[in-house]
């Protein structure tokens, strides 16, 4: 355990400062190239640059390379390659508008390093009830996990700071769960994700200076999914991600198909005169988490973000309770 402290501290410091220091340069670079999109929830016509994916992937690669210097394990390689493939897929989508099916299908490729490097254990562990051996079925789970976590984080990237802030809470909850389960090595491998999200949040929080874009959101989600599989904490990871899962579930159950946000004509949310967010009564618009939050009345963008963070903290606590329950078998 003590031999893990130095790699842990070094990788977290590298993760945080790589993103913290490279993002301002990325913002300037994107501003020069005029790679900006309007922030739809601002009164004035504010343009925000995107994507922030390059600084996020830089943080992941450098911090995980530091860890690879200490422990040469396939698990670290699998996390790096999976995250990088997800970044490339997201970057393609950032630069060129692809169809609704592109990201979920393409992200299947991002799962292959985990399979090829054998960085998984083919059984599912459930709290209280123990484990179930499902070798063939588990392979399917690995293939679908990365597209699900990647797109789930991407779907919650709707307001300033929400995707990165949500990732801070979910990833640190997952790391705490891994420590509780005494899976120290993977816990340390997972810690940089929280610090990368924390550093990016500095620039993404309201008012955003940069948006993560598909490349940023998919990279964060893919790394989270890879940690869940490699750390053998799939159920705990799903619990920590529940608010984002609810968002995807509500969206899919109302739209009844996989569709890109930009292809939807109905607006789930509109603005009041004082530019607060308000739920619409448009029957063609999807039901989303933000729309449900706003059913109680109009709220500012910041207030909606805080409600999402409260939900994330609640599910993070449930995830940690689940980790404790993993140690009990009925």
């Amino acid at each position: 355990m003590t031999e893990l402290i130095i790699p842990s501290i070094v990788s977290c410091v590298v993760a945080f400062f790589t993103v913290y220091l490279t993002t301002p340069y990325l913002i300037k670079f994107l501003q020069k190239r005029n790679l900006a999109v309007p922030d739809m929830n601002k009164k004035d016509h504010v343009m925000v640059v995107r994507p922030g994916g390059p600084s996020i992937i830089a943080g992941i690669i450098t911090s995980e390379l530091v860890l690879y210097g200490f422990f040469q394990t396939n698990e670290i390689l699998a996390i790096m390659i999976t995250s990088f493939i997800a970044f490339v897929i997201g970057y393609v989508d950032d630069r060129k508008v692809m169809g609704g099916w592109f990201k979920p299908v393409a992200l299947v490729i991002a799962s292959t390093p985990i399979i090829l490097l054998g960085a998984y254990t083919p059984h599912l562990a459930f709290p209280l009830f123990g484990t179930v051996q499902i070798p063939a079925l588990y392979l399917g789970l690995v293939i679908f996990m990365i597209p699900i976590t990647g797109n789930t984080i991407n779907s919650i990237d709707v307001l300033n700071g929400v995707a990165s802030g949500f990732m801070i809470i979910a990833s640190f909850s997952l790391s705490v769960a891994l420590f509780i389960l005494q899976n120290y090595e993977i816990a340390i491998i997972s810690l940089p994700l929280g610090f990368i999200s924390l550093a990016f949040y500095k620039y993404h929080k309201i008012p955003s200076k940069i948006f993560p874009g598909d490349s940023g959101a998919l990279t964060l989600g893919a790394m989270y999914g890879a940690i869940a599989i490699i750390g053998h904490v799939e159920i705990i990871a799903a619990v920590a991600l529940l608010p984002a899962v609810i968002n995807s579930f509500l969206f899919l159950s109302s739209m009844k198909r996989i569709v890109e946000h930009r292809q939807i004509k109905g607006k789930p949310v509109e603005h009041t005169d004082d530019f607060k967010l308000k739920a619409t009564s448009d029957k063609t618009a999807p039901i989303t988490l933000v729309r449900l939050i706003l059913v109680g009345g109009p709220l500012s963008e910041k207030q909606v973000g805080y409600v999402i963070f409260k939900l994330a903290i609640f599910s993070g606590i449930l995830a940690i309770i689940t980790a404790f329950m993993m140690r009990i078998t009925l």
């Binding site: 599912l124 123990g130 051996q133 079925l137 619990v239 609810i246 739920a279 939050i293």
Partner: protein
């Protein structure tokens, strides 16, 4: 509404725990014999089908719960 969201989240968690228990109890002891080399393949296919059915049931329950919890608020 916001209390409803926390309730929905908590219900999802309970469903995950309960669903996990059902999965372990049904799929755990399931073995097939008498088909030689195909035992593993047949068992895997049956396990996959049962798991998919359980996930569909889970989604249906969740969908009903969503309508029940948010029925007063969702008028869209």
């Amino acid at each position: 509404m916001r209390i409803g969201l926390f309730g929905f989240l908590f219900t999802m968690w309970i469903l995950i725990l309960g669903g996990g228990g059902v999965l372990v109890m049904i799929l755990g002891p399931l073995t097939i014999s008498g088909y030689g080399d195909f035992d593993f393949l047949i068992a895997s296919i049956i396990k996959a089908i049962i798991a998919i059915i359980l996930v569909i049931i889970w989604i249906l329950i969740l969908s009903k719960l969503k309508n029940w919890i948010f029925k007063k608020e969702i008028k869209f």
